[in-house]
């Protein structure tokens, strides 16, 4: 009983998407350009854990059956068969996707994106094969055509809708965090440019507006704006923009507007071109978003590592440095501001470091560093540094060499223990 409401909600959403798909049917080929409802089922399954498959599958089955019954000339048998095809195809697609990546899939990595594409392909092929078989078994003569139309429409529909479901199902409202306002503003500009450029390209007579095949060439422009959306809004924003943009492109193309309708060498060419186009734009956005997410994750990992390292040396009252005796660079890690009263950025060379050593010990310390540059590391040095507040602090500096494969000194790395003041 507790599942009844969600099942009905899925069925209603399925019917709504089926209705939108119906309105996008391409008259010359008498076929639906995209089957958006297939993306709903697949998306709901892979966005959840295994034990929650029942609700989306049951909702999709009811939605598919009801939709089939609404169609003229369809009976209960057709409805049952259609519902079975939807459920089997979606389950096959989900199994294929989850074979490659563990659910729930949020399209936040290349692995998840790859798994999603494989799942979408499997769903389209299995659904198309079953539909073609059903057509032939029921005395039809268009098995191959049914397979082609079904496979392409289902694949494109899933590429447009499933990412929406998968990414937005992980959405949780936040008090703070996530997308910052500047990121949101940049993404809004990118999204408006993306949708606006698609509208300009696809609405009206493109050939008259741009002349020749210029309109086709300009179809690359929205891809640029999609990349801005994907980089700023991530997979969630990219999937939303791709869905809305696809509706603009498909709606205009089936009404003989836009660059693809302008050059239609054979029946159905424009339909095929726009199908491929919207799928490519959507997948490009998702790919860029996954790459950006991977980079962000790498940055977080690096930040965590740095935080741990800095925390450890700080807890032990230490600093660490890496000195390049040849290039002269001197990089200090640790809370130099607290211990020495100088930010690490102002200790960028050995000369900077030595300038803070107590004047009476500076020459001896410089000499010791000179010997280290020659490979004579020697015992730990003890010297005093002058803090910015005028007090002195005793340091114990222990160095080790990093050498290359033939033993040549590459870097001198040191651990500095912070001693007492005075």
């Amino acid at each position: 009983m507790s599942n009844l409401v969600p099942i009905i909600a899925v069925a209603v959403a399925y019917l709504a998407l089926a209705g939108v798909s119906t309105s996008l049917a391409y008259a010359p080929t008498d076929a639906w350009t995209v089957w958006l409802a297939s993306g709903l089922t697949l998306g709901l399954i892979v966005a959840q854990f295994h034990h929650r498959w029942m609700v989306p599958l049951a909702g999709a089955a009811i939605g598919a059956a009801v939709f089939a019954l609404i169609l003229p000339g369809s009976g209960v048998t057709d409805a049952a068969g259609y519902a079975a095809i939807e459920v089997i195809a979606a389950a096959a697609g989900a199994f294929a996707a989850m074979w490659l990546a563990a659910p729930p899939l949020r399209l936040e990595s290349l692995r998840e994106l790859g798994a999603f594409i494989v799942g979408t392909f499997a769903q389209a092929v299995v659904g198309a094969a079953l539909a073609a078989a059903w057509n032939l078994a029921s005395g039809g003569q268009e098995g191959i055509r049914t397979f082609n139309v079904w496979a392409i429409a289902a694949f494109v529909g899933a590429v447009l809708v499933a990412p929406l479901v998968m990414t937005w199902s992980g959405f949780r409202p936040k008090r703070s965090g996530g997308l910052t306002m500047p990121q949101f503003a940049a993404g809004t500009v990118g999204c408006l440019l993306f949708l606006g450029s698609l509208y300009v390209l696809f609405s009206g007579d493109t050939q008259q507006r741009f002349g020749g095949s210029v309109g086709i060439g300009l179809t690359y422009v929205p891809v640029l704006f999609m990349s801005i959306v994907a980089l700023t809004w991530g997979a969630r924003g990219a999937s939303l923009a791709a869905f809305l943009g696809a509706l603009i492109a498909l709606f205009n193309t089936i009404r003989d507007s836009g660059p693809f309708a302008a050059v239609d060498a054979f029946v159905g060419e424009a339909e095929l071109e726009v199908q491929v186009y919207v799928a490519i734009v959507a997948l490009t956005g998702l790919l860029i978003a996954a790459l950006a997410a991977r980079e962000h994750k790498a940055l977080l990992t690096a930040r965590d590592w740095r935080t741990r390292f800095e925390g450890a040396i700080d807890a032990h009252r230490m600093l660490a440095y890496e000195w390049d005796p040849v290039g002269g660079s001197f990089a200090v890690t640790g809370d130099t501001a607290a211990h020495l009263g100088v930010p690490a950025a102002k200790l960028a060379t050995l000369a900077d470091w030595l300038s803070h050593v107590s004047p009476s010990e500076r020459d001896a310390t410089a000499t010791a560093f000179g010997m280290r540059a020659d490979g004579a590391l020697g015992p730990a040095l003890t010297y005093r540094m002058m803090r910015s507040d005028g007090t002195a602090i005793t340091l114990t500096d222990e160095a080790q060499a990093i050498r290359d494969h033939d033993g040549t000194l590459y870097r001198v790395t040191g651990i500095v223990r912070i001693g007492d003041r005075g």
């Binding site: 949780r172 409202p173 936040k174 008090r175 703070s176 965090g177 996530g178 997308l179 910052t180 306002m181 500047p182 949101f184 930040r303 965590d304 740095r306 935080t307 741990r308 800095e310 925390g311 700080d314 007492d420």
Partner: protein
Amino acid sequence: MSAAGPSQGANYSPSGGSAAAKPQAWGSNTSDGVFLIHGLGGTQYDLGSMHKRLKNAGLVTHSLTLPGHGLQPEDLVGVTAEDWIDAVVAKYREIRGAHPTLHLMGMCMGALLAATLAEREAHANGRLVLLAPPVFIDGWATPWYRGLRPLLYALPSVRNTMKVEEEEPYGIKNEQLRAIVKAKFERGENFHYRWVPLECLRQVDRLRAIVMRSAAKIRCPTLVVHAREDELTSLRSANFLVEKIGGGRARMVVLEDSYHMVCVDNDREIVAKNVLEFFGAPMPGATSILANEPKMTPAELVTAVNALCDCLANGDFAQVRALAIPDMTWIQPGANRVAGAHAGKAFGSFATRLQDIAGGAVRFTAFGTPVFNRGIALVPSTLVAEREGARLESQGALLCAWHAGKLLEVRWFADDVERENQFFGPPDPAATGPSALEQAFESATAASRTLKATDNDTLLALYALYKQASVGDVSGDRPGALDMVARAKYDAWSKKRGMPPDEAMRGYIALVEELRKREVVAA
């Protein structure tokens, strides 16, 4: 300093034994108070170490756990802005007569409540500090859909069930501190709710509207502390309040290296310094002691110094701790096993080490006539210790700083430091850290955070032992009946009064160990 010939100080009574050395609340009945109010979904953790710093400065702190807080986020459903206002008003009325001056201080939503309280109660006998007041929710990390929340408020079922989560950066710019807060969240520690119901934000929005309407009626001197990079609320909020309250009464401190949680982030020292200055409170430390008003009469100062001398004459360093603020510092000169600055908890291990070296026979004696300057007393004396047949009699002077009846700092100036170096031996890096018992206590403290939820009585027992071990006897007024959580904690802690810190540590360690064993058995 030369103390040739130990002499009996005129103000020191040698008859004073342990009775005279018992802690006394000098000036506590005349101390100023501060009422601190935490933020939304938070606890007193929001205010960082402000409680401790204010106590160290001789101020008495009061706080409360706001309705819906302290247990689980679901408790916030049904709590209204008026409930929070009523709670702070009730607490205010309960404590305002207990102090000559009562200051108000709030963090985040607590700042909005403090502002509302100051306006409604026409607060004039004290000052007002507003830390990161979110009059406008317009910080750089607020989500893009923040403007849509009024639409969802229209749907009661949504606003009561929708969870609004907290995410990085958690109001903290310092990455080390942020990692700690993140770990606390992941361990499920109950210091801050991980989420709040949307309904709760509606109540905060209502509170914001109240403050916007009433800020101009605030009549007390006000300090607004706000971070330029506050991710939740921009400087516009601080500007608004300063403008409304009036430049003559309100001033602003802008922090340049913090996010929203100003009391725990990078600029926390700046926050503490400005708050203490604004309250006219002293800041512990040798450089500022002389400039501070001791808030003690000469007679109280003499009594306090006598009590300290009693403790030192008996070698009773545990009682010295009872006379002092939690962060009291003892500075021992030279380069030996006991030299250095020993502050807060480190004073305990210093005292133990001192007595271990000398077999419990370290004491001060032959106190001379103290010389007073404001809250500072200089007492000629002799440090006496015996070790393996060797005897040390080191003459010198003790410099001790007092404020509001509490000992802030002690410095021992030895006439011949080298003699002490020879007696105590060279510094031993291994011995400068915490004692084995303190290390075990620290480990038990860390382990306690991983314990699964347990019953309230056990939690209170843990709390009481922890506070007794780390702070000592409970002080301050018992919280009011409305603040049940704080009252229960106070009562539990007060039951441990008089228990030595070492015993409390052992008790705490044993209890944590027992709870862990129970969990293992249950698993």
